[in-house]
């Protein structure tokens, strides 16, 4: 399902990150960073809640607006019952929609907000997404202090919160079109190989997007998936070629951009709801403003992992949503 927009723009964005991202190569592009993982709270779940709250507050400050000026807040995260988003929303007091499609939540939020603005139902909205390394480890894997050896294909959940302000004001980056993906399941059961789980979803969504809009792949200066990791990236390139005969040339993945893969202990790269928007809002938008990229297709991919279903021996489904972003002419 693909939508076209005439009048939706990302006017402003904000990003808050933790210590690992601060030590990474994109540090200069974030609005705020912390040196520890608690951010003055008592638990990791509450720390993640603070990431969303703070990213929204920074955004409001940049816009010189207060919460009463915002029509809608859409937010998603990885925790059960999306608690980080829900509790942040309780403090923010903006009409709220919670979304979940794992690490594709950020783009799901952008699509929902863009559609409502295009339909004139709302004037503006804020779309947020967050993830927290330790909170995710605790929920999906082993206790953090247990560590536990991981294979090379494992990814490292980013700690961060990112928010974007959308409106019909012609300023910032234009949201040109979007595609809602379908859930894919090609039988992968290895929860430490998220790239392999999500690559078919990314492939299908990219193919559908190009097909719906009758575009060639080189229409875009950059296809940016978030977040397949080092090996998932190779899998997607191969998958696009064999399944659809499409050669991915101008292609990159946010998981491999946010960290220094040689220096930091992040295995195959970053992951988590925050990874794609953190890279896009700071780093990629800066490049777009410099006209290094004019049109990009951001494809956020989510592994719909549930430890319960994995223990019941079912394979892990995945989803990808795409959004086309353009420099304003």
């Amino acid at each position: 399902m693909t939508f076209k927009y005439n009048n939706v723009y990302i006017n402003e964005t904000s990003t808050v990150v933790g210590p690992y991202e601060k030590k990474g190569p994109l540090n200069n592009y974030f609005d705020k960073s912390y040196d520890d993982l608690y951010f003055g709270t008592k638990t990791w779940e509450q720390a993640e809640m603070k990431l969303i709250e703070e990213s929204v507050n920074i955004l409001l400050k940049k816009l010189k607006k207060n919460r009463f000026d915002i029509d809608l807040h859409i937010s998603g995260d990885l925790l059960n019952q999306i608690v980080a988003s829900n509790y942040a929303a309780a403090r923010l007091g903006i009409p709220f929609l919670g979304v979940y499609s794992a690490c594709a939540s950020s783009v799901e939020g952008l699509i929902l907000g863009a559609n409502m603005i295009e339909a004139d139902q709302i004037k503006n909205c804020i779309c947020s997404a967050s993830s927290h390394n330790n909170a995710a480890e605790k929920q999906f894997r082993n206790p953090v202090e247990y560590g536990g050896p991981k294979p090379k294909t494992a990814t490292f959940t980013t700690t961060g919160g990112a928010s974007a302000y959308l409106s019909s004001n012609k300023k910032g980056i234009k949201i040109e079109s979007s595609t809602i993906g379908t859930v894919q399941d090609l039988g992968i059961t290895d929860a430490f190989h998220m790239g392999a789980i999500m690559a078919p979803a990314a492939g299908d969504t990219i193919y559908q997007h190009l097909n719906d809009l009758k575009r060639e792949i080189d229409y875009y200066d950059l296809i940016l998936t978030g977040d397949l990791g080092v090996y998932g990236k190779k899998i997607l390139v191969d998958y696009m070629q064999t399944e659809y005969g499409i050669e991915l040339k101008n292609y990159d993945d946010t998981a491999t951009i946010i960290y220094d893969l040689d220096e930091q202990p992040v295995y195959a790269g970053g992951s988590g709801c925050a990874c794609a928007p953190l890279v896009t809002y700071g780093y990629i938008f800066r490049k777009m403003h410099k006209n290094e990229y004019r049109r990009i297709l951001l494809v956020a991919t989510g592994a719909l992992l549930s430890t319960t279903m994995v223990n019941q021996k079912l394979s892990i489904p995945s989803i990808a949503h795409a959004i086309s972003l353009e420099v304003i002419e």
Binding site: K42, T43, K138, N142, P143, V144, E145, Y146, G147, G148, P149, K150, P151, K152, T153, L186, G187, I188, H193, A196, P200, Y231, K234, I235, D238, Y239, T242, E243
Partner: protein
């Protein structure tokens, strides 16, 4: 794409884990742990003048103490990451599993947090350890009469 074909495609791009290296590291670190344990037994039985059976209990207590201490201090997980099964299989791994789970849930209350989750990882070790000890004992009883 069919699942089998996709599996082949994935395998083509998935790096091989260095099994031989991991096995060697686990073998050597596990062996060193055994050596340390034996050393402690000798030391305890010599200096405290107790039989080696009692000394081995003292040894276990010592290793568990340091396993939990190092976990709490936050660096044992890095050792485990390096040594893998070399530190997970010995009693230190058991202590580490209990302690890390307790730390993880300490903010969720004594009963609902620590009490409920302490055995999250170690529970299966106890269950299957007890069951297999029982079975081996039974086999021994049948074959050798005790």
């Amino acid at each position: 794409m069919e699942k089998n074909r996709y599996k082949d495609l994935v395998n083509k791009h998935t790096p091989k884990e260095n099994r031989l290296y991991n096995i060697m590291v686990a073998f050597i670190t596990g062996g060193l742990m055994g050596l340390l344990g034996e050393f402690l037994i000798q030391v305890y039985s010599y200096f405290l003048n107790i039989p080696s059976k009692e000394a081995s209990t003292f040894m276990i207590i010592t290793l568990v103490l340091f396993g939990t201490l190092f976990t709490s201090l936050g660096f044992f997980d890095k050792w485990v990451n390096f040594a893998k099964s070399g530190l997970i299989i010995p009693i230190t791994g058991f202590a580490h599993a209990m302690m890390s789970a307790s730390l993880e849930y300490r903010k969720e209350g004594l009963v609902t947090g620590i009490g409920t989750n302490m055995f999250k990882l170690a529970g299966s070790v106890i269950i299957f350890g007890t069951v297999s000890a029982y079975l081996v004992g039974l086999i021994r009883l049948i074959l050798f009469g005790g």
